[in-house]
């Protein structure tokens, strides 16, 4: 027997309210997940140390087809070579048009450290290490392996996500060094070998204006970004649903979100560090 139910009042208002509530709830669950992951880091360091080592090796070298092109190190190196070379290509020519091409070495020391390396490294990390983590965890979620982990008594968040956050933070240290070296090298080679500037001129301005404190801040910026990238990517993998296509979509969503969040984070850290004084003195 069917009952005639009168339609509810204020449907549009109800729908909007429900949608807003869902969005709020999603932010809440996400924050809860990040909190849990960060709180479980000591636990992961004590109980799942082998898994952390395994992940460090895997993230550094990459898996599958990515290992063929030389792994994460080579990819990050390649991307920073191309962006560092932009300093030579764009910077040298643009400065030459106003008669300042001698300052290309200065542009490399200034823009590479503050702008180009943090930006490129964050993008490269989200594409390689981050997207890899989403794909792996997402596939485990679809195959119900995460539920199986819980059933056999392994804390899945600690085992899968906290370990990845730790491993990512450790892997990024050598990666950052490679990125900075490659960016400097590409800018120097491009300016001196290809555009034919005297290497003494380049080195003089580069060494005069390379500020060690800037490098340290840039390093901490990249480490902070890595933690956030790993958190976002593991969350999207952990909550993947909808079969094989769902895993792919989760990877795409995670890359989008983490790139935007990393960009905002770089701006805020830069404003916090350089906002007051600029930390730059032309007189040397």
């Amino acid at each position: 027997m069917t009952l005639a139910v009168p339609s509810k009042q204020f449907q549009r208002v109800r729908r909007t309210a429900a949608r807003t509530l869902t969005a709020w709830r999603r932010i809440g669950t996400q924050a809860e997940f990040y909190g849990k992951t960060l709180m479980s880091i000591p636990d992961a360091l004590v109980n799942y140390r082998t898994e952390v080592w395994r992940l460090i090796a895997q993230m550094g070298l990459g898996a599958g087809a990515l290992a063929v092109v030389g792994g994460t190190v080579a990819i990050v190196g390649f991307l920073t070579v191309t962006t560092g070379a932009l300093v030579a290509v764009q910077g040298y020519n643009q400065l030459a048009s106003v008669g300042f091409e001698a300052l290309t070495g200065f542009a490399s020391a200034f823009f590479n450290v503050r702008l180009i390396v943090p930006g490129t490294t964050s993008v490269a990390l989200s594409a390689t290490v981050g997207a890899g983590a989403t794909a792996q965890i997402g596939a485990m979620r679809i195959n119900e392996e995460i539920d199986a982990l819980e059933v056999i008594g392994i804390r899945s968040i600690t085992y899968l996500t906290s370990t990845r956050v730790i491993a990512g933070t450790i892997v990024v240290i050598p990666l950052y060094c490679v990125a900075v070296m490659m960016a400097f090298l590409a800018a120097r080679l491009g300016t001196t070998v290809i555009y034919g500037q005297g290497s003494g001129v380049y080195d003089h301005y580069f060494n005069t204006f390379l500020n060690p404190t800037d490098l340290i801040w840039s390093f901490f910026q990249v480490v902070a970004i890595t933690v956030v990238i790993m958190l976002v990517h593991t969350y999207y993998g952990f909550t993947a649903s909808g079969g094989p296509a769902g895993v792919g979509e989760a990877v795409g969503r995670a890359v989008r979100t983490s790139m935007v969040i990393a960009a905002v984070e770089i701006v805020f850290i830069s404003l916090a560090v350089y906002g007051q004084s600029g930390n730059f003195d032309l007189a040397g």
Partner: protein, 256 residues
């Protein structure tokens, strides 16, 4: 024997990619053209790309003018901040943000969609029905990515310059007239054309890589996830390389 086969694998993948690209270019000019799929895909790529593109442009252009203005203030030349903003946004931030978004948002979604169809054998089913999947699926997707990348880069440049204007004028207290007057000092129509050419090439390359990775997926759900991951990595690598080369060539024509 197995070693030789393992060594040949990446090369045969590269060859297969170029073969598919060639097929795509041939099918592009051969009727019938899948208009409906083209419009739907363009709308789809635009829908997933616009919001991330705008969200990504704002912080990067603010970061650029902030870093640049520290320098200009130190020289006592803050009036030229518009020049720096225009050079950075039109030549680099515009195309690069377009790259990141078209490959991070558009290409991943395309690859996930095609990959899911491939592992459910839908592509083979199309072939059995006598429909060429390159013509029906790949061509409209590649063209959609190209069109949207071109449109997106214009939007990104406009939004980036607007964001830079508000940040410079209201936060760093540069006079608005000086900012606007400085915009066209070093940046001319040539730079804009090079920037748009870059964006078009990026869109096409990203579309081709995403479609190739999508239709050559194997190995279940994990395979689709990995294919999407590889799409992101390979598109970033190819696009950053294209960016340097096109910048180096284009700058010969734009800088006097």
């Amino acid at each position: 024997m197995t070693l030789a086969r393992a060594a040949a694998k990446p090369w045969s993948a590269l060859g297969a990619f170029f073969a598919m690209s060639l097929d795509t270019f041939v099918a592009m000019v051969k009727p019938p053209f899948a208009w409906r799929e083209y419009v739907l895909q363009s709308w789809f790529v635009a829908r997933v790309s616009v919001v991330p593109a705008l969200m990504l442009t704002m912080p990067y252009s603010v970061l650029l003018v902030f870093t640049f203005n520290i320098l200009l203030t130190e020289f006592g030349a803050a009036d030229f901040s518009g020049t720096g903003a225009a050079v950075g946004t039109v030549n680099q931030i515009g195309p690069i943000v377009t790259v990141l978004v078209v490959s991070g948002a558009g290409a991943t979604a395309m690859c996930a969609d095609l990959g899911a169809r491939t592992i459910r054998d839908e592509i083979d089913a199309l072939r059995v029905m006598g429909i060429n999947p390159i013509q029906a699926l790949v061509v409209p997707r590649v063209l959609a990515a190209t069109t949207v990348a071109l449109a997106l880069s214009a939007t990104v440049i406009l939004v980036g310059l607007t964001g830079a204007f508000f940040f410079t004028v209201y936060v760093q207290h540069v006079s608005p007239g000086a900012f606007v007057a400085g915009l066209t000092l070093l940046t001319g129509p040539g730079d804009v054309i090079v920037s748009l050419v870059k964006a078009t090439l990026f869109g096409m390359a990203a579309g081709l890589i995403a479609c190739y990775k999508g239709i050559s997926v194997g190995g279940g759900p994990a395979g689709v996830g990995n294919a999407v991951n590889e799409t992101v990595v390979f598109t970033f690598m190819v696009l950053f390389a294209i960016n340097v080369i096109v910048t180096a060539v284009g700058i010969q024509f734009t800088v006097q």
